[in-house]
Amino acid sequence: MKAKLELENDLRDIVSRIMSQVSIASKQTRTDINLASEDAWIPILREVFQASKLENLNRHQKNYPGIDLGDTENRISFQVTATTNLDKVKDSVTTFIDKQYYNTFDDLYVFTLVKRQKTYSQEAIDKIVGEMPFHFSTSEHIVDPEVIVEKITSMRFATQQRLLRELKGVAGDIDARINSLDTDDNVPYVFVSNLAQVTFPTSIYSAVPEIDKDGIWETAKEFLTYLPKKKTTRSCLYLGLELAGYSHAQFVLHENKVFTFENLEESSPFSGMIDEGTIERFDVTEFFNSEFSEYENIFKQLLKSNIQETLKKDEVYYRRKDRLFLFMPKEEGDKARKVTWKDKRKATRTVYDQIKSSKDEYKIYAHRHFGFDLTFTMIEDEWYCMIYPSWLFTYQLKRTHLDNHKLVSDKKKLEKNHSVRDHIRFVSSYLGELTSKNESFVKISSPLEFEFKHSEIVDLSDEEDLEGENEIQNIG
């Protein structure tokens, strides 16, 4: 509160200094200060009047005699003057009408660099305007620096601080302007992406599988509680790994060759299930720089299956049908699951819970799971995973709920930029922590962020929001 009061006092102080400077300069018939002020005020007027494209029309030789500053996109114009009498205002309005500037601008403001008169005759102005499609209110459209300060004091604190520095610049405190470029309030807009960098081993190994399918199948029948549907090379390899206690080992089978990040040249989970004479080591770049897209796909599948295995240990399962990694309850019977995560600060989010039936509170209508999918892409020789957060509603944790489509749509209708952004930050933080803790071949880092050093004002922080997009009504 104290800081805010101090700031407002500083603003008023600097404005009175500027006005007295202009006043003195005018008396000395020095017009250079007025010309300098025209440009110096632009960033402030842009912000205060939401005229992001405001520019000096004289300097850019735009053909608008009688107007100093203008923004044709937001249709707002300014006459900047150190003269405050009614005649000057009448001249400005007359020129505006004669030149038909109302076709280009909705508003004309007369901005007096020194204190404006207390009152101006509205009647005199109305006589000039007559029936023209243009409105000029002497109380609203004649503004001076004090009026500007009043408008600034209703803005956010950080904006006020920035504008104070701008005003110091106007006042000639050049040092203040230079220093202001590196302060916190001039932080550019930051955009977070759904791209998180992926690191992985430098080698991929391949070998031809050599397994006794029938033998493995029979052993599995004896020792394992389940069997795959079909007795294929792939399913028997998985069974072999399971029986040997290496269920975490991941591979891709392509054209009767096993591809894996596991070092096959040393003792590996695959020992005894491959033809040792066929082992080959490839540099991983050979896969994603190959002219054959299937090799890039093998590499991407290896990335995904390794992450899949890491997540499985934390009760997060991939549902191929829905193309989602789903958070499941940690223990059977858990009513909810919460995950604590840390990005810029510590937070907890619910990643699984139950929705009770509206008819019977003892019955569960649906299980709600937070989930995400990952795909991989290479940008400038680095690999990234793209994170797509979503939701899935299940019936008894197994089957996709009959109303899933509607329930997900309803949920997403409530989600906006910030909610989806935080989903992505959560997923990358969760994956980053999990892959760094585990002996995972694949590691995930934080999502990429991009800075926009804005040369223009794009205020994304407005409070006004829309309920959502109405459907286009014309159907052709």
Partner: protein
């Protein structure tokens, strides 16, 4: 990687430039007011049941005077509608009356609604409207025909057997308002809107279809837009279709070589057995163009996307350039081809030979597709429209929907999906190509939005494909977009 925000492209209107179609038309007049030959009267034919005709008459009357914008803190987004008149804005007079009206008996509509089979229901409904449209087109001097559909009839001819939207948003057949989702591959596709537009195309009068509730005045139903927004979209589409001219164009860049933009789309035949190319060609920033029908193409077994062989690509672009020359009496200096799938070597070879033979030296082959990469701001709103992220020299993402500074909001739901741009052979930088695409998203005269999602090249090629599949092989399709929008 380089990030920046591209400026909102400006549009040229009758007396100046502006970023927003609504503000531009209202303050500066439609672009063609300086054209001595332009028509200043729009003759509208009306087809519908008696209640629909009454509503439509009331709505057209309503649209001729000022309609207040929705009460909101966003005056630029919910801008009031100045009225369709010959004194400002559209500078055009609406003419309609009993002689240009064809009522449909309620009993006939009720009879159709009772038909159990959806295909038969659609066919009967199309036939019902077709007869009245034919009468107006052959016997009355109408420029455009508005068909009012009762809401329950609309539901009866658009009910979809599939509620699930196509999950893969790169699918070329997006689920749209008023369309059925694809059914079993063996079934013939039936779509009321497409069938009616294709069938009435030979009459040479564009159609504007709308549900009756779009014409309500006074109390606004919950699920439709406010009156002023409806009036803007309805009247802009009507003007473009009926007057056969353009309400705005992109601001001219005198330093740019004469460019011909080509959009290539693919569409499945109604029996889902073949995929053909459709082509929308934009001669220049004016948006003057021509529609061409291509030949059936193959499917890439790796990514299930359709593609042209060398000969087909050559034929398609050669025909497009012939049309260009026929219209403008010269060849373009540069050709830009937009497609929603990657360019294969055979396609590039075919295009290159076509350009070489026509002496065109500058070319840009550009894939435009939904992006998997997204950005999120730390503020309330998503990234602004125009947010541009260059991933490399030939790959970038561009937000064509997003926060709009002029509106001071993001006029959409959930989060916007950007488009990915890939340049396969390019003379222009990826940023220049993106800037061009951002401009072309504003060239859809079917509504008054400033933020189209797709460039008009692709938007139109896709729309054309939807209707061409219903056009008989021996029938010459209309060359103007007005018949497909």
């Amino acid at each position: 990687m380089k990030f920046k925000i591209l400026d909102e492209p400006k549009l040229t209107f009758g007396r100046g430039d502006h970023v927003c179609p609504k503000t531009g038309i209202e303050s500066l007049g439609v672009y063609d007011i300086n054209d001595e030959l332009r028509k200043s009267e729009l003759r509208v034919g009306l087809v519908g049941r008696p209640k629909g005709i009454d509503d439509l008459n009331g709505w057209l009357r309503h649209c001729q005077s000022f309609i207040e914008g929705k009460e909101s803190k966003l005056p630029n987004l919910f801008r009031g509608f100045g009225g369709f008149s010959d004194t400002h804005g559209y500078y055009c007079k609406l003419l309609y009356g009993d002689r240009s009206t064809r009522p449909i008996e309620n009993s006939k509509i009720q009879k159709i609604q009772k038909i159990k089979d959806i295909e038969e229901r659609i066919n009967s409904c199309v036939q019902l409207y077709f007869e009245e449209i034919r009468f107006l087109a052959e016997n009355r001097p109408v420029d455009v025909i508005v068909c009012a559909l009762p809401d329950d009839l609309f539901s009866a001819v658009t009910e979809s057997p599939s509620l699930e939207k196509i999950k893969n948003n790169e699918d070329i057949l997006e689920d749209r308002l008023g369309e059925q989702a694809d059914e079993e591959a063996t079934q013939l596709e039936y779509n009321f809107r497409r069938l009616l537009k294709a069938k009435t195309m030979p009459f040479g009068v564009p159609l504007q279809l709308a549900r009756e509730k779009v014409f309500c005045v006074g109390k606004n139903p919950r699920d439709i837009e406010d009156e002023a927004t409806r009036a803007w979209n309805f009247c802009t589409a009507l003007y473009y279709k009926g007057i056969k001219t353009i309400p705005w164009r992109l601001r001219e860049d005198v330093n740019k070589p004469r460019t011909c933009y080509v959009g290539v789309g693919f569409y499945k035949s109604r029996d889902k057995k073949t995929i053909s190319t459709s082509l929308a060609q934009v001669f220049d920033e004016y948006g003057h163009g021509v529609i061409l029908r291509g030949s059936p193409v193959s499917i890439d077994k790796d990514n299930k996307r359709p593609y042209m062989d060398k000969q087909q690509a050559f034929d398609l672009l050669s025909n497009a350039l012939d049309e260009y020359k026929r219209a403008l009496k010269q060849s373009p200096a540069r050709v830009v081809v937009h497609k929603k799938s990657n360019f294969r070597k055979e396609e590039i070879d075919g295009f290159n030979i076509a350009l070489e033979l026509k002496g065109v030296q500058l070319k840009d082959y550009v894939t435009v597709m939904p992006s998997s990469i997204k950005l999120f701001s730390y503020e309330l709103f998503p990234p602004p429209r125009g947010s541009f992220l260059a991933l490399s020299d030939d790959r970038a993402i561009l937000y064509t929907r997003g926060f709009i500074n002029y509106y001071k909001t993001y006029p959409g739901g959930y989060v916007p999906t950007p488009i990915e741009i890939r340049a396969f052979e390019n003379e222009y930088s990826i940023e220049n190509i993106a800037t061009e695409i951002l401009g072309l998203t504003k060239m859809n005269w079917n509504n008054a939005r400033l933020d189209g999602k797709w460039p008009i090249t692709l938007e139109c090629a896709e729309r054309v494909g939807e209707i061409l599949k219903y056009v008989e092989d021996k029938q010459t399709p209309q060359a103007s977009y007005a018949f497909y929008m």
